[in-house]
Amino acid sequence: MSEATLIKDAVCSFCGCLCDDIDVEVEGGKVQRVKHACRLGSSKIMGHGRIESPMIRKEGVLVACSFQEAYDRAAQILLMANKPLMYGWASTSCEAGKKGILLAEEVGAVFDTTATVCHGPSVIGIEEKGLPGATLGQVKNRADTIVFWGCNPAEAHPRHSLRYSSNACGRFTPQGRKGRKIIVVDVRETRTAKNADKFISITPGCDYEVISALRMLVAGKGDNVPEEVGGVSKADLADLAATLKAAKFGAVFFGLGITHSRGRYKNIDNALSLVAELNQHSKFVIMPMRGHYNVGGIGQVLAWSSGYPMSVDFARGMPYFNPGETAACDLLARGDTDAAMVIAADAVSNFPRTTAQALAKIPVIQIDPYENPTTLLSEVVIPCAIAGVEAEGTAYRMDGLALRLRKMVDSGFPSDEEILIGILESVQKQRLLKANEEA
C-alpha cells in the first residue's frame, strides 16, 4: 500500500450510525485523509498514539513481552480464576465477539458488554415490551415527525440528522428538514434542541411521569392529567400528544438521558408502551441511539449464541442471565469476580469509581489499541489492530443492519479475533498439560 489509494464508501467504526459513505486516502501504509466523516469518526480513522507492545506487569511495572507470553499469562489468569469477568466488546467485530464467547464458555466466565452501562435498560425494556422498530432508511424516507428524547445526536452521533433523521432528504420526505417536525425532550437545551421546532424541558428524573401523562392524553384520558407534570405544562403535553397523533410516520429516538436516570428500564418500558399506543392512531417507531459502533452487534452475537443479549454467566456450565446479579458492575460491587478481561472498552473510566476500585484488587487483562486508565491497573496488556481500520469484520448499526467493516491499512498488530484465538489455544494447551501431569 505504498502508492496513494482512495478507499471509497468505507464504514466508519466509531458510533452506532456506522456511516458507510466515508472516503479514506491511504498512502505509505498510513491514512492521510478522511472525507465525509464527522469529527469523532475522523479522529478515530486518522489514528493517534498506540500501545506499542504486549506487556506483563512484573514487580509493579509493565514490562514488554512477546504476544505468546501475553497470551499464556492471560490464559493462566483465566484458568486460575473461579469466576472471571470478560467485559467490553462494543468496539470490535462480531467475529471477535464470537471467539470471546467460546473462550468464556471454556473458562466459565461472565460475559458482559458495555450495554450494561449505556443501553442495558433499553435491552431489558425491549425484552419486556418488544420493539416497534424500523431501519434508519425507513425513517429517512418516511418520517414526518421525529422526537429525540434524552439524547443529543448533534454531539454523540453528529451525522445522524443529516443521513437518517431531521435534515435528511428521502424518497417521501424530499423537503428534508422543512418537511419534518422535530421535537426534543431533555433536561437541558442541547445542540440538538437548537435544531428543533419544539424543545420540551423536563425536570431531571421525571421521564416516566411525563411519558405516562402523554399516554393518558393520547388515549383521550387527559381529564386525569394534572396541570403540570415533570416540569411540563399540561397544555404543552396536550400539544405534543396531538402532534404525535397527527404524524403520518413518527419516530422516537432515545438516549442515555432516560436509561441513566431514575426509572431506568421502566422509562424504556413506558416509552415502548407510548409508541405501541401511538400505532393505534398512526405509524410510529422507536429506536435506542446506540453509542459504540458495534454494541448492537455483540448483543446480537450473544443472543444467538446463548439466548441472552448481555450479562451472561457461563460459570454454571450453561448460560444464565440476571442483570442486577450477573452484570459487570454488580459483580464488581459485590466482589464476586476474581479476574477480569477488558476488551474494546475502558471499564476503569466508565464504571462508577466505587465500582472500578474492585478492578484494582484483581488481575486484569486488557486488550485494546490504546492506553487508557484500565491500562494503569492491568496485569497483562495486549495491543490489537483497530477493527474497521486495520482489521475487517462485521458490525451492526443501531437499527440492527449488519455492515461489513473494511481493512484500510496494514498493521503489525493481531486482530482482536486472532488474540482471542491465541488465548483460547493457550487455555486448552495449559489445561491439557495439567491433565497429563495429574494422570
Binding site: 466509531f14 469529527r39 469523532l40 479522529s43 478515530k44 493517534h48 498514539g49 458482559d112 450494561t116 452501562v117 449505556c118 442495558g120 435498560p121 431489558i124 443529543n152 454531539e155 454523540a156 453528529p158 433536561v187 437541558r188 437545551e189 442541547t190 434542541a193 431531571p204 428524573g205 442515555l256 438521558g257 441513566h260 436516570s261 431514575r262 431506568r264 428500564y265 453509542g291 448481555m310 450479562s311 442483570p323 442486577g324 450477573t326 452484570a327 458492575c329 454488580d330 460491587a333 475502558d346 476503569v348 473510566s349 466508565n350 464504571f351 462508577p352 469509581r353 466505587t354 465500582t355 472500578a356 476500585q357 484494582a360 490504546y370 492506553e371 487508557n372 486508565p373 494503569l376 491497573l377
Partner: protein, 124 residues
Amino acid sequence: MLATMISGRTLAQGAGCESKMSPDFFKAVALCHLSERDFKSLGLSEGKNVLLKNEFGQVVLTAKMDAGLPESIVFIPMGPWANVLVGKETGGCGTPHFKGLEVDVAATNSPVLNICELFSDMGA
C-alpha cells in the same frame, strides 16, 4: 450550592475518548458546566475551579458557563471525573444511576487532578 448532576457526551469528549491519557481529553472532560446564574452566584470566572461532593466521592473540576443549562443542574462530560460522584447501586438492572445525582457545589482553589493523579490511590 445544592445541584443535580447529569453527565453526557460532548463533541470534544467523543473525539478524545480513545486517547484518554492525552492533555486534550483532560481539557475536554474535567469540566463542570453551570448555568449562568449558578456560575455568577458562586462568584466564578472562566478557568476557576469548583469542588463537587456527594455521599459517593468528591472531585475538583474546571467551571464552565453553559447558557443551555437550567439553574441547579450541573453537567459534566461523561468520563472518569464524573464517575467519582456515582454510586455502586444498579437498581437490579445492571446499570448504575449515572444521572440525576444530588451534589454539593462550591468554588475552590484546589487543582483539578489529571488522569494519572485521579487513579493514583487505586494503585495505578
